[in-house]
């Protein structure tokens, strides 16, 4: 659990972002208007199991890459 509920710095899709602290990956996706079941999340170069989105807290300094399902050809 994060004790600091102020803002934290993350690298999101290659860009520095300031976001509220203490939120889960799930919260972050929802705040970005993304449907968690349609996004792959790589956190600090490890792909996160989708089932763990609600329990993993985004930490200060995290590097997050969000990748969408794209199927067209």
């Amino acid at each position: 659990m994060s004790h600091d509920l102020g803002t934290i710095q993350v690298l999101l899709n290659g860009k520095d972002r300031e976001i509220p602290g203490g939120q889960s990956v799930q919260d972050l996706l929802v705040s970005l208007d993304l449907r968690p079941e349609l996004v792959v999340v790589e956190r600090n170069r490890q792909i996160l199991d989708r089932n763990r989105f609600p329990e993993v807290t985004v930490e200060d300094g995290d590097t997050l890459e969000l990748v969408h399902f794209v199927g067209g050809g």
Partner: protein, 388 residues
Amino acid sequence: MDSTLSSSETLRYARHLVLNEVGPDGQECLKDARVLVVGLGGLGSPAALYLAAAGVGTLGLVEFDTVDLSNLQRQVLHGTSGVGRSKLESAQERLREVNPHVSVEPYPVRLSSRNALDILRRYDVVVDGSDNFPTRYLVNDACVLLGIPYVYGSILRWEGQISLFAVPGGPCYRCLFREPPPPDLVPSCAEAGVFGALPGVVGSYQALEAIKWILGVGDPLRGRLLLLDSLSSTWREVEVRRDPDCPVCGDHPTVTELQDYEAFCGITPSEAPAEAAADDYPASVSPGQLLELLGGDDPPLLVDVRESWEWREGNLANRGARHLPLAELTAAPEALPRSRPLVFVCSVGSRSAGAAQFLRDQGHTRVANLSGGLKAWAREIQPDLTVV
């Protein structure tokens, strides 16, 4: 070694022959190479053209579809006079004109678990230009099982993805996308649109990576996913590692043969019974089931969420369908009655699935989606219905 290139080939490939990384040996290598292109649409078109032009000796082509006028905005293998013809024939003709030294091996089939291994095993590299998730998982798994590099590319709207999977030391498609997305929630290019020049970039890049791999030059896209946002003109690179727990390429694989990929991706055959929602109203219905519901005691109100231009071309107004484009629906869902069951329709069942879920979230209980959309309805029930 002594070159076996003819004098006309030497002239044709002159710009390759002067490159240090290609040269006569590299060009020979390309001539001996066998590349399979799956799908001859937006991605397969430029990929096949550049592979042929580069002098890849043998090109396998998998495609079962015919050329449609709406393909020509981006599928540069095919021309106006080819509308209605098989894409495979149209492609063969064009590729022969581009480079008669290339031997083309056509497969007029839909790639499936039954035929994939037999076809893929004859090639050194596979370039995936397919347009659906079941085929992508199928191609990935077959490439891993056979040990063949999988050159991945995909597109939607203004976005493209490119990578090289299933090569030693690198990840596979499932290391990145372990599970498919829920069915009907990721739109197709037909539904969401695709910018015409985008597959030109992505498909050409797939050809480039395939050729580099054959030549063994430079840094391959192994373990790297390239993401292109063409609207903002930005490229992003994401590192993707091989997952030791991957069910296909991991240390203890559980997928050791091809599966039923339609079922894996949650796509049920239309004759299968509809999935029951919590309150027993089906969450999705096939065209046949919808026909039954419409003739039943409590017929649903059909709600067509497509755009006006699509509705004008053909619709189910004669069956009481109401036109309510998605944007209007989400702005004012109270416009729909709570007293009647609702069945949402669109062209292929993706936007309408989102609409159905939205209405369920608003507390409507009897809400279904027409699976496969009006295209499936036209195919199975009403062949004279025009669906764009």
